[in-house]
Symmetry: C2
DNA sequence: TTCAGCGATCAGATTAATTTATCGGCCATG
DNA sequence: CATGGCCGATAAATTAATCTGATCGCTGAA
């Protein structure tokens, strides 16, 4: 009979490709793991791993078995999570991913409120790009993530939290007055400074500009890859170009006197920020509560963004955030 | 740490509502099961069952835990199935459901071929209505089922096998010549004899007639509920009315000289027969092979129906088989 | 009151899993 | 072609998990 223990050991073995290290990861000795894998192979009637000198690789069948095993483990972990957290939202450990263009601006708003409202919550944060976050949510490494919708994965569910409009950040000495919204034509794509590849914000900005206009044939855009929005703003301040920046970040970056932020004429581009989690997650109650906290913080911070009143996030007539990360 | 054993015992307990009988079903003694349930409650920190004199009922949390536990068990059973059957399609035990309006006509065609081509296959058949079959597939009681598409459940996948057109069965002394297709107007809905409630064929026939015409306000139709198509044909033969009958059944029922079958004018109503199974089923290779056998048998039997060349089954301009069973 | 049904509990036996120690194959070195 | 290191398999002893059979205590019915 197959056991969860065998699947756990197999999962570790698949991950480490090494009996000794897999055993260590499972906090058992190597023979213990060897025997469990052996038992598994015997009960399934298939060689699961190829033991070759210098490396241990899964067989084809083994790969599929490990994949299914991970599904089983995730489901059982969910079961335990459900039982342990049922009835008391936002207590205990909760691992949350946040995209880099959001984390430094949103977290300072919500962490104090969370701490105050849910002192029993032990939040573990991770900052990564959307692609990574989605993978980690699906594999159960993360419970949920704050990112720009849509996440575009049918295994995932989302709660829309707020709309985050884009502003055009330009040097303070730009001739255009701050009061007048500029048309997208005001954006010289070749002077656009963006985050490095892989950031959803970069893709959204590019998508918006692409639909807005295409000044020359070159895929162009001075797409120097900064790793943080603050860096991007520094470059704008230094007169190296301009950028599209989400309102929630502009609030903070506005401190720098050498830049100013111009609003854009409708249809204003923007992104829809949401809380994403596995459809089968056992902690939906937590996510509802967490979402409420975020909405509350964003609202009371006097920020323009407001929670939308609909389920499926829009992303129509705005940046095409359908592109992966 | 939670174990599959505990989940198996919990599943049995949930099903039987009785420690003793659940234990018996698991082939262990009652104390063994009691202790495992006790351990489970201890590790989860929740009372899972309410022990009250005379009955054992799950708590709210227990119900959800049992549901999730069943998911885990299904996934682990799938893993084992995958490992055991991988590489040798159509061997070993395979449980297959078939709807009643199809089983007696299709099975005689395919069983000999299956026996010949796959002697190692031990097919276990069950005849039930669509609703029941779908439930059993989802819970893992059945591996797959032959029924009229669409099954309409997002957890299920289907392979379309063939189109089965409906014919109008009338008494042999009906004045209309067999050679000329009749219009749907030729169907007097008030004289329609159908299978009893719950059969998809009944719903399809009613749906087709409803779109075809509505002679009077009465929901009408002489919908005496026969439990088999043979019974229905007997009644038609006896002059009690007429019926819509799938071509595959007409082939057989044609033996009765007292009825004849009129073709219908386009858009000809019909049903799309398919093989349905869980999306995550470990035996998709088997289903492909089984589907091929069915297609082959249906074709070579000189039957009109042919395999369609498209994935999503039609059900357009024909009986509305979207209604449940 | 007494009894039958049912689940909990206990002690002891059994089975499964783990650890420590060791073996043997396979490379890379010298 | 020896030698030592790495790595997984195996053996024996130990520990932990699980089971059985006997029994207890509770509850509702006779």
């Amino acid at each position: 009979m197959v056991t969860l223990r065998q699947l756990r050991y197999l999962s570790a073995l698949a991950k480490h490709g090494h009996f000794g290290r897999a055993a260590e990861a499972c906090a058992v000795t190597q023979p213990a793991l060897s025997m469990q894998i052996g038992d598994l192979e015997r009960t399934l009637g298939v060689k699961v791993v190829e033991r070759r000198p210098g490396e241990v690789i899964l067989t084809d069948a083994g790969r599929e078995i490990a994949r299914r095993g991970d599904d089983v483990l995730t489901a059982s972990r969910d079961l335990v999570d459900f039982a342990r957290h049922r009835g008391k939202p936002l207590t205990g450990r909760l691992t949350l991913g946040v995209i880099p263009s959001l984390a430094p601006y949103l977290l300072p708003k919500i962490l104090p409120a969370l701490q105050r409202g849910f002192p029993e919550l032990r939040l573990e944060l991770r900052e990564s790009q959307t692609r990574q976050l989605v993978g980690d949510i699906k594999s159960g490494v993360l419970d949920a993530a704050l990112l720009a919708l849509p996440a575009g994965d049918s295994d995932l569910d989302a709660i829309a939290l707020f709309e985050d409009l884009f502003l055009l950040a330009v040097p303070a000495d730009d001739p255009r007055p701050e009061a007048v919204p500029v048309a997208v034509d005001g954006i010289d794509q070749s002077r656009l400074i963006l985050l490095e590849d892989g950031h959803c914000l970069r893709d959204q900005a590019l998508a918006f500009c692409a639909t807005a206009r295409r000044r020359d044939g070159s895929a162009g855009a001075m797409t120097f890859g900064a790793s943080s929005l603050t860096t991007v703003i520094q470059m704008v301040a230094g007169g190296y170009g301009m950028t599209l920046i989400p309102q929630i970040a502009a609030e903070v970056e506005r401190r720098d006197q050498r830049v100013k932020f111009l609003r854009l004429r409708p249809p204003q581009p923007g992104r829809s920020i949401g809380l994403v989690f596995r459809k089968t997650s056992p902690r939906k109650a937590d996510f509802g509560a967490l979402g409420d906290v975020v909405k509350g913080c964003v609202e009371e911070s006097g920020c323009r963004p407001v929670p939308p009143g609909r389920k499926p996030p829009p992303a129509q007539n705005r940046a095409d955030s359908a592109s992966e990360p």
